[in-house]
Assembly symmetry: C2
Homo-oligomer: 713 residues x 2
Amino acid sequence: MDTFVVPQAGAGLDAFFNAQGIAIIGASDDITKIGGRPIHFLLKYGYKGQIYPVNPRGGEIQGLPAYASISELPAAPDMAIIAVPAAAAVKAMLECAAIGVRGVVVLSSGFAEAGPDGAVLQAELVSIARRHGMRLLGPNCLGTISVAQGVIGSFSIILEQSMPPAGHVGIVSQSGNIGSFAVQNIARRGLGISHFIATGNEADIDVADGIAALAEDAQTRLILCCMETCRDADRLTRALDLACKKNKPVVVLKIGSTEQGQAAAASHTGALAGSDAVIDAVFRRYGALRVNAIEELLDVAHAAALLLPAGLPKGNRITLLAASGGFGIMMADATVKAGLALTELAPQTKEKILQILPLAGTNNPVDATAQVSARPDVLQGTLAALMEDTHTDVTQIFLSLSLYNTRLRGVYMKALKDIRYRYPDRLLVVTSQGPADAVREINDLGIPVFPGIDATARGLAALVRMGQLSALPESTSYRGLVEALDSDAFRNEYTAKEALAAAGITVPREAVVTSADAAAAQATLTGFPVVLKIVSQDIAHKTEIGGVLLNLADEVAVRSAYEQIMQAAAKHAPEARLDGVLVSPMLSGGNELIMGVSRDPVFGPVVMVGSGGIYAEILQDVAVQAAPVSEKEALAMIRSLKLFPLLDGARGRKKADVLAAAQALTRLSEFACRHAADVAEIDMNPVLVRPEGEGIVVLDALLIPRRADSTSE
Amino acid sequence: MDTFVVPQAGAGLDAFFNAQGIAIIGASDDITKIGGRPIHFLLKYGYKGQIYPVNPRGGEIQGLPAYASISELPAAPDMAIIAVPAAAAVKAMLECAAIGVRGVVVLSSGFAEAGPDGAVLQAELVSIARRHGMRLLGPNCLGTISVAQGVIGSFSIILEQSMPPAGHVGIVSQSGNIGSFAVQNIARRGLGISHFIATGNEADIDVADGIAALAEDAQTRLILCCMETCRDADRLTRALDLACKKNKPVVVLKIGSTEQGQAAAASHTGALAGSDAVIDAVFRRYGALRVNAIEELLDVAHAAALLLPAGLPKGNRITLLAASGGFGIMMADATVKAGLALTELAPQTKEKILQILPLAGTNNPVDATAQVSARPDVLQGTLAALMEDTHTDVTQIFLSLSLYNTRLRGVYMKALKDIRYRYPDRLLVVTSQGPADAVREINDLGIPVFPGIDATARGLAALVRMGQLSALPESTSYRGLVEALDSDAFRNEYTAKEALAAAGITVPREAVVTSADAAAAQATLTGFPVVLKIVSQDIAHKTEIGGVLLNLADEVAVRSAYEQIMQAAAKHAPEARLDGVLVSPMLSGGNELIMGVSRDPVFGPVVMVGSGGIYAEILQDVAVQAAPVSEKEALAMIRSLKLFPLLDGARGRKKADVLAAAQALTRLSEFACRHAADVAEIDMNPVLVRPEGEGIVVLDALLIPRRADSTSE
């Protein structure tokens, strides 16, 4: 068993980003081979450091002196690329370790993805890396590109055409193909790249490493991340936390968001995938923006990269300007559907616009009418009026096909340049199709140009969310004690409620009795009406066997109910071990929620809240988050429910005590962390949420222990 | 008052589509003016017919002999373009009529959109057209282009670059800008256009005319329609019905789908807009595919235009093929989110693929692994296996960036050509970025190439929906008698229920009483328990004033309740005219729905069904359709509710009698049509839907009459 410590996320990745020398093990003259392509690209794009081709043949490779073995290298390169077959990789790795290489990229496949034998080889690579303090990228990966440094440890197809432009977007992707696609398209939109890291099998370096390293990297301002699976929750959350603190926005394309996608992911990587809903919630917690499609990733990156210098939008108020009423309507539809707000212009803005354009519509969208094409100089004045309007956060202007008209293009460019110069801090985006050079010219002013109305709305909505998410997270991980839970807590409803009550969660005042007399006495103590429920570790569905009787109004009814329940249990569950009958107050008046805890294979205890009754299931009306959750997070979870308006005073109802519900959820999440070693699942269903100020009460509860064979998980 | 008949939708549009001669009134030498541009374009793109420039100056215009007035033309052209200011247009229109012009395009603005004076001029144009049997396009429109015929009656910016290619896509758009944008982008995707019609102010020719004319047009196979407002429901539904019958798919981009968009539309066109939800339902009824964004319109048109020759998909089963696991997962996510199905491959297909690609993943998505790039000849065999698999309707292949690699491109093209030749009837789409000429080469094989994964899924989902919608609608418009409704029906809950009962809708057996004794007697007749409710035309919210008492178990309770209700009414509504107290059976056991009728300004009576209680409002859980609705449509409306699972036996509940609910909805819709002259609104809330076979019963009902001043609507 390896006892070496796993390096901190991001540590040592400068060996790749700033490699001062690069060895290629398995170097080839054939520039279509993975041993030939990196050398070809390093030469083609003018890498400034030393390139050391290694091949037993020696001689010369692609015009460079080749070395027969690694041990013959005149100096230790920072980085080595291993392009030999899997079977030979372990020896190469050992030799790299011997001369002090700091980072190794294993491009070759044939490791864990190929079966058990490959997995053994892969474990061997990791063991060598750990023993010698090296970092390992891959195996079975597309490697790494650091643009400004000219460092290439990759055979990506995108390098065949050209090196991507240098810039501020850092990209880390588990899949090399997806990462390449993103790099290619980011470059095509005229944006620059800092580093590209493709992690492949993630034997050592994973996506979290990439995020952390990019968060620390001075060139990188925006981090794009494509991931399939997360294997280590702590590592990922620490990296996201670092990116937060370094103020580097993270945009995540996490694939496998549907069941079918997850099934495909599982068969593809063989990795145990955590629940998509949980990872989604964790991204939200750390202000990372989750996107669902690669097009959305590109739109968001595009907008963010260009707008970041002027800052993210302060709010979600968009003002739309179009020369065509029809397009104005479409823009309004798209803006509202994306969750953005169309606010009214300030009265003085309307006046200013009407002075320039007497026939303009000064509602939002502003309809500048065809005058803006006939006399395009008015655009400048109209935009200036909007830039000075403090009722808006972003102004969007639609130019349709106008940039194809040379005369119009000239005047529009002049107006946009002027506006950018006069109002450098105001956010302006253009939606237009036009010749590529016109689009680039506007982009170069720091004004993003989107090709479509929907793309613009998506991009802006994402930036607004980013702005809203930028506050640092309140809770990260459980810092309290981990304690054993008395196994009696798992025994029945009563003991489960006792354990939860000890954690500060309100349960009814109730007792288990074993005779009709005791039931009547307890009911008198409780106050009528009461509920009687059978208590047995062997009866999961109490109602179905007739084990629950509601609304019992007096002692006579209670005595009779006791006998009735005992008879029902004897009839329908003759083998069940009975602990007695629970006497509870009959509570009503309020709304029902369900709360619970389950165990995610990656993130551990996960807390859930959902609408009561059957609605959580029918409407999929639930919210989840990795435990523990702060009260603020718990409140946000409850407020996100589709049926939240029921708790919030819809149609003249009394407002429910959602604050108390949030506190209960927080306490439940802390309870789940404290007893994570023992508890597999918790079910509090229903939780009665009473009117404001009156708190909550858990009407039924169930604790399920982790099985002995899963405690080592 | 004009008594001429409005022409049937689509009649006479051949004057534009096939114009044998074209006059331009207000012709100009300046090719940037709207009187100069059409002549310039007609000459540039080689129009074969006669061009007659008309200008009082006479002489020569753009090298053609000009005529000083229309009366001097040597022959009557089919079509005239009016490009003179609004004030001069009426005279020009009269002169066109005098020489027998059949179709007039008025490009000029300054009509209804500019105010009351312009509206008068516009009405004059319409009157002339009607009197002389001419058709009028515009005014304030971008005109018309018929590509194969070289007919141009437009000044659209898109003609500055080139004439769009001729083909099978017909486009009709209220907005000239949106239409131009669509034409430009359809052309950019390598698809051909038959006709483009921009209807502008729609004084005569409207979008319905365009749909009908394109439905009859032999060149057109697919109709794209961009509309802002519908003013004439019958005209639109008849055009959609015609397109159905001619088997021409219609794709509609109806803008103004949000409240804000509708507000922008109203201020833009000044037209009274019908409810977006109703028009949405009407499109669905006629199998027209509604899209919500111009990008989606283009994606759908693209897929449809290329796939139509092979037919629409027979079902929604998609098989995905990717060379990268990561992209496979993304494709799976996008496919499932678009509502398509990933089915399992047939066992023999899996075998065939594994023979070619031993390491392939043969789940769906099929992971062809990097082998497909290393040895791309295997693509052909793999695709052939999928083409022969009868478990799939469409095969989607992802080529990522491979087409940029010359070697791979060659082999892929060969494989695709071979597959297209061998399996001409199987549906295959490619998702790829690549050089434009490679994309065109694949498109030319009849294989649509989509640039993105989401775009592919959207396009395919739309085609599948088109295939499903293609059945002819059952109900079109109300063909029964229109009858007056006794005004007594509007008096109170009891009379409203009586009127609905006469229409075949089940209501409780109940009676209005005016004494405690009568209440007790009636309750005995009804059977206990009963409900008592105050009956008054002046008390809308019975419960709030204490006018409803439930669950009355015996005569004593009923007597006392009667007195209590009368006292509450005297106290809280002393002025109200009381009709008495309604004695109803206390019914429960079942699910609640709400049903109703409202009046759309364009579509007339509209029927609605929603979830019961507060849920319709909180979840916006309602479905609407223009009345009347067939039972099949009514059933589909009920099944579309988010809370339908409650009626459908979720979690072991009894199934509700949804068939009876559908029948009630159909009867309600017919009732609303029969009494459309008198009824403004109907509210049946709640409707108790009992278990299967036990029917429904309307527990409360309200009829609201149309006000006298609105009956001319």
